[in-house]
Symmetry: D3
Subunit: 187 residues, 6 copies
């Protein structure tokens, strides 16, 4: 039965409020065994003129983009090798940890390391999910890999999971696990 009233400054789009309402609903349902219909969220929007803290009125901050959208766009740009587009999404201190190659810091590094491993590899997405962890937003991408080995043999259905960290909307970390070695070992 929880009822959540959220006081925010005006200026957020309907899409942002839907995203926030669902995130608040999820937060409740993680702690209390409430069915979806038992969780109500209400937004009370205020103009700057109606909100004051420390004697001053405040302006609303620009909302963060949907982190799952950001990661989808990044993975898509990487698959299409649109490196400038992908690079623009990265933040300071960006580091990648792949099975067998940890601590890579540039996209070029990743591409070089990948070259001998497969002709190409693409993802079939099963789902994206996000959570907030301190100051970072974490996004998980789960699915399978398909592509071609260096000798042209195709492969598909190789399980993968990527864990991304974003701060201020920029990607700062990518941890990757997959069954490539497991599958290669089998045959």
């Amino acid at each position: 039965m929880p009822i959540i009233e959220t006081h925010v400054l005006k200026g957020y789009s309907d899409e942002v409020k839907t995203r926030l309402g669902r995130a608040l609903t999820d937060a409740v349902r993680m702690v209390l065994p409430a069915s979806p219909d038992a969780v109500t969220v209400m937004f009370h929007e205020m103009d700057s003129a109606d909100y004051m803290r420390g004697y001053e009125h405040k302006q609303p901050a620009t909302p963060l983009p949907d982190p799952c959208d950001t990661i989808r766009a990044y993975l898509g740009a990487m698959e299409a090798r649109e490196l400038d587009k992908a690079q623009a999404m990265l933040g300071d201190g960006f580091v990648m940890n792949f099975p067998g190659a940890q601590g890579m810091t540039t996209l070029q590094e990743l591409i070089e390391w990948s070259k001998p491993r497969y002709k190409f590899v693409k993802k079939t997405y099963e789902g994206f999910e996000a959570l907030q962890s301190g100051d970072a937003t974490v996004v998980y991408s789960v699915g399978t890999l398909y592509g071609e080995w260096p000798d042209g043999t195709p492969f598909e259905g190789i399980r993968y999971i990527d864990r991304f960290e974003l701060t201020g909307g920029k990607i700062t970390k990518q941890d990757v696990w997959n069954d490539i070695a497991e599958v290669r070992t089998q045959g």
Copy 2:
């Protein structure tokens, strides 16, 4: 600057309210670029006598245990081979997907499958994080594996990630990825 007012029935412990308050704070910070100090949460607790829906008063539901605690307890029970204790945490339809072995449904199956792969394996936890996904709570456990190969050679620092699904506090799914094959392949 968001201020979240949460109306709930009385009966939840301080620990539960802290957990819920932090989950709500995280939900806000995933959508709006708010510093922690900019997010306020207030709980307004009501006795049953002060809450009515559809002409009837309601009782508070028993809160769910902290899902990360449940997973820690499960992994600990499995490591200690306390199978009854681990089994008690499983829900209907429990299925495990490991690299190289998908669709396992019983703990005995898992133990048999593991026997030839290593003498023993234990986890060094780096972190646990949780999110709500529809009716399921998802918990991620990230860290490294250490143990001994069948021939007694020790290993350590092998990257792993486990993704658990819980429904109604019971574990219904476990997806595992790790670098065991990658490491074995290297040497």
Copy 3:
């Protein structure tokens, strides 16, 4: 001193909000001995985008017409013998209980039964009052009857009370009591 805050979806006219505010004020004053000035009602209206239940935004429902207006219109249409107009206000299972004639279900039945009893009969309204009873709205019409007996003798001031039930804005029941027999018996 009660203060009532009502959270509703936007879309209701001023007239509807006045009606609701007065109904809420009456509800309070029936239970607590509060003078009118001691009861405050505030409406907080929300756009659909600002209200969420079960992860979904909702639309406001069309308000019900003022039930007293509906009954006034029905009685007026019946007096003017505008039977189509009156019929349109009736709901499934409509039944009428008059002194000496219970269980009538059609307006034609009522008109036939009335023919030998008086040349015509009209109402002088003293008041209409409404209350909610479960899923039905109940409207009482109190006043006096005037008209002419079959022999043309006029009559007036005969006490009557009608009790109507409405569901979803449609009239489903009419119970009538009056002093016609009492007055006829006297002379």
Copy 4:
């Protein structure tokens, strides 16, 4: 979907709050087509120390008794001829209007007028319903009469409706309609 928050002073019993919550729910459902489950009522109780109007703290007023209970008690006392008990429930200006006898002001008057009409008469209650009308609370009692005519012949099932007005918990008016004359006339 309306959500009603009611701020009241502490001191009201659970029974009073249930009565008030249901009255507020009914008020909403009379104006908006909301199913019972769509109407939520929350009470926020305050100690006197937490409420101030015009610079002064206030004390809660003694709630009014359930008006339907008062009328049930009055009708029961009248049936049992416990006239002192019934008299104690009456307020200034109490007046009764019965079919064929309007403007009676004392219970003795009523009893004398009733003597030649029936040996005894008792009520079978079908229902009681209440509403607030300005400063008065109105209670309707609907049901049937049974008893014995002066010659001992029993009667039953005679339709009746009583309309009571209460102010400050005391009964100030009683209007009665019934089919006694109708039934007597038939035979």
Copy 5:
């Protein structure tokens, strides 16, 4: 940490809401040791249609002008000898108490009394502060006086304080203290 929610009728300018928000913040900080950033004020504005007391909707009242602005304007008009302008700001029962001349009621009286005391006198304002005292608003003007004695000798830096009372926006009382006599006595 106090959070103040203020429900008001719509119709007040941003300037009025800023003034009110700051006055509420000051009120809190006078009783609780809260830093400015710990005090939040939110305004919830309502159209007349969304506010009801005693069954009736209300209209917003015209806000009072900033009392410090009124006093600044009055003192400025007096210095410039714009007596009509100053007179228009006075309310019934206006009385002035100066050192050595109490109970003056007209501006002409004040001017006559002042003539022999100095050639001219003007104020250097250090600050204006206001508070509410029952039905009156009190404004203090603190600063120093400068001007010329009757013999043309200039003076400056003479401490003064004026205490004004306003009711309904009009000035009803002025109490003046200053060091003129102290300074004159010294030399």
Copy 6:
């Protein structure tokens, strides 16, 4: 009609809440022309467990003493020459400005300066009023002085006003104006 809801942490005495409620009422009445009965204040108290900001629960701060009480106590201690008691109420940077003696910093300084001016002087208080000015609380004491001149001649009714500043409950500034010189000059 303003309604002020104040969310505070539990732990404040009734006296503190009365003081805060009246200060909030005064704040409203300084900006809007509301009669006392038109201003309602409600306190919603929360246990620490029900309040969270920046992921952490907070403790209530110790309220400040009524500043007018502090000043009354200070003036009383000074009149009774209880210098230790008076000194304990002073804060860092305490400075006094009297007519003819500005910038005094110690109570001994004041006493020495006062010795030749009068045998003794006491205050007849007309009123105390307080307001918040940034981080300081300002208290005004208005009234008249009575006592004896050095030659024993009594005096009374000499107008005075003292302006005090308090920070964190301690007195940091005292500005004094009075008609002593004016009266002495007259005779």
